[in-house]
């Protein structure tokens, strides 16, 4: 088996070198298709990361009545303690709320200080466990909390995160659709280039066929050519994608500053980059096989 593999690699390499100009064009076509696909993947991966990050940070703010009784407070705490989606909770007293307000909005702090009594309510900030925070169940829980005695209001910021998640899914769908069309075009391009290679080596292939070379060995170099072209196209696409990503990220950081959200923008994870490489090789393999089927 090893000698077949070596033979296929040697023949493919020689053939690719012989028609290097068409090969470069095919590699560029695959790279363009995978660049588009990878670009969409990069956007959706970062949107997913942001949604996940913000989801992890998602919380209820339960504002308490100023006149909440001790029993109501105990009952509310028991309700929160027993719910599986609640990861942690923190009590913020009226004084703590005033201190935060003064810290976050120093220009308005004087106005608050002039008031006869602190108007800010005490609250409980509830951090959710993303793995257990099922959307519908959490909304129902939020409604139930809002009706609990001693609770003035409940603020829950999950809806816009879900909307963002839907946008990410839409972007991903557009990416795969557009990418699929481009990948199909790449398959046909590779098939054409490999068919040209087969045409150039037709006599050699015919002779080998008459000498009894196994069909797999005759087709092997052609499929290998396709796989190499696809792999090379994917590597070019990944390199170009990283270059563009680095430039865009640099500009975003310049605009947004080193905020946590901007700093969280990252390149494709290894698994996604490997997937892109595999897709490229699969595209090349399909194109090569399409051309190699002429040998029978």
């Amino acid at each position: 088996m090893a000698h077949w593999f070596t033979y296929c690699l040697e023949e493919a390499a020689a053939s690719l070198w012989r028609q290097r100009v068409s090969v470069v064009l095919a590699v560029c076509t695959i790279a363009a298709a995978l660049f588009v696909l990878g670009g969409f993947l990069l956007v959706t991966v970062n949107l997913d990361r942001a949604v996940s990050r913000w989801s992890a940070a998602a919380e209820f703010s339960i504002y308490l009545d100023d006149e909440i009784s001790q029993e109501q407070r105990v009952a509310l705490n028991a309700l929160l303690r027993e719910h599986p989606a609640v990861a942690s909770r923190e009590y913020v007293s009226k004084a703590d709320a005033a201190a935060r307000f003064t810290r976050d909005f120093p220009d308005l702090a004087a106005g608050l200080a002039d008031m006869a009594r602190n108007p800010l309510p005490a609250s409980i900030e509830v951090r959710l466990n993303p793995a257990r925070a099922d959307g519908a169940a959490i909304e129902a829980f939020a409604r139930r909390l809002a009706q609990t005695p001693g609770v003035a209001d409940v603020r829950f910021d999950r809806q816009w995160l879900e909307r963002l998640g839907r946008i990410a899914a839409g972007v991903r769908w557009v990416g795969w659709s557009l990418g699929s069309v481009l990948l199909l075009a790449s398959v046909l391009t590779v098939a054409t280039v490999v068919r040209l290679a087969l045409h150039a080596r037709r006599d050699e292939v015919d002779i080998m066929q008459l000498m009894g070379a196994p069909i797999g060995l005759l087709r092997g170099p052609l499929v290998t050519e396709g796989v190499i072209q696809g792999g090379a196209g994917a590597l070019v696409a990944l390199a170009a994608l990283y270059g563009v990503f680095a430039v865009v990220r640099g500009r975003l950081l310049a605009v947004l500053g080193a905020s946590a959200d901007a700093a969280g923008i990252g390149f494709l994870p290894w698994s996604a980059a490997a997937l892109l490489l595999l897709v490229g090789m699969a595209v090349g393999c399909a194109g090569g096989y399409l051309a190699a089927r002429q040998v029978r």
Partner: protein
């Protein structure tokens, strides 16, 4: 070794290249296949190499019905048969050594085995000093000897040759025919298609004569 029974091959609409040909070539025999152009010699060889399938009748080589071979079995069968063409069919981009070593290589011989076997055959044919040359650097006679070396390298039980001296001058033709006689003397069955009656007389072996696709004589 070779047995055809009521073998016919039809091309297009009703044009027979071979019609009702039944013949036997025994193991270890040297047989000429002769007849004028268009007699069906090449068609018969193509059927024997399983490049084509018979329209009617059967072709058996070493007991195997060629029509029943799958594509992969057909390739395996071809590896057991040596074939020599009139136009040599050497790969111009490969050296003599690589052309001859191709078959052992695809059969999985190690590099050392492949080179040893190839060198032995080239030496036997007097080509060892040309093994690094490319086909276009060789004379016609040398090219045909390389083609014969390629056919022999796998030690086939049967050698088929289609007008192997068609492109050679009389002296070289005689030399090549003597080579076939030597190959046959080593036990290999040889079937040579030719219309060169002088060569046939020189070698003096059985001849099967075809004319317009019919078997007309076997002597």
């Amino acid at each position: 070794m070779i047995e055809t029974s009521h073998l016919s091959k039809m091309y297009g609409r009703g044009i027979y290249a071979l019609r009702d040909v039944s013949l036997v070539v025994e193991k270890g025999e040297f047989v000429f296949l002769t007849g004028p152009s268009g007699a069906g010699k090449s068609t018969l060889l193509r059927l024997l190499l399983r490049q084509e399938l018979a329209t009617e009748g059967t072709v058996k080589v070493a007991g195997r019905d060629l029509a029943k071979l799958t594509p992969n079995q057909a390739q395996s069968y071809r590896r057991a048969v040596g074939f020599v063409f009139q136009d040599f069919k050497l790969i111009p981009s490969k050296t003599v050594l690589d052309n001859v070593g191709l078959v052992p290589r695809v059969l999985g011989a190690t590099s050392v085995q492949q080179q040893r076997r190839t060198f032995q055959v080239l030496k036997w044919l007097g080509l060892q000093h040309r093994m690094n040359a490319y086909p276009l650097e060789l004379s016609g006679g040398e090219q045909q000897r390389v083609a014969i070396a390629r056919a022999l390298v796998n030690e086939p039980a049967l050698i088929l040759a289609d007008e192997p001296t068609g492109n050679l001058d009389p002296d070289l033709s005689l030399e090549i025919m003597n080579l076939f006689r030597d190959i046959n003397a080593r036990g290999t069955t040889v079937l040579v298609a030719t219309h060169n009656r002088e060569l046939m007389r020189h070698v003096g072996r059985r001849a099967i004569t075809l004319d317009h696709g019919h078997l007309v004589e076997t002597s």
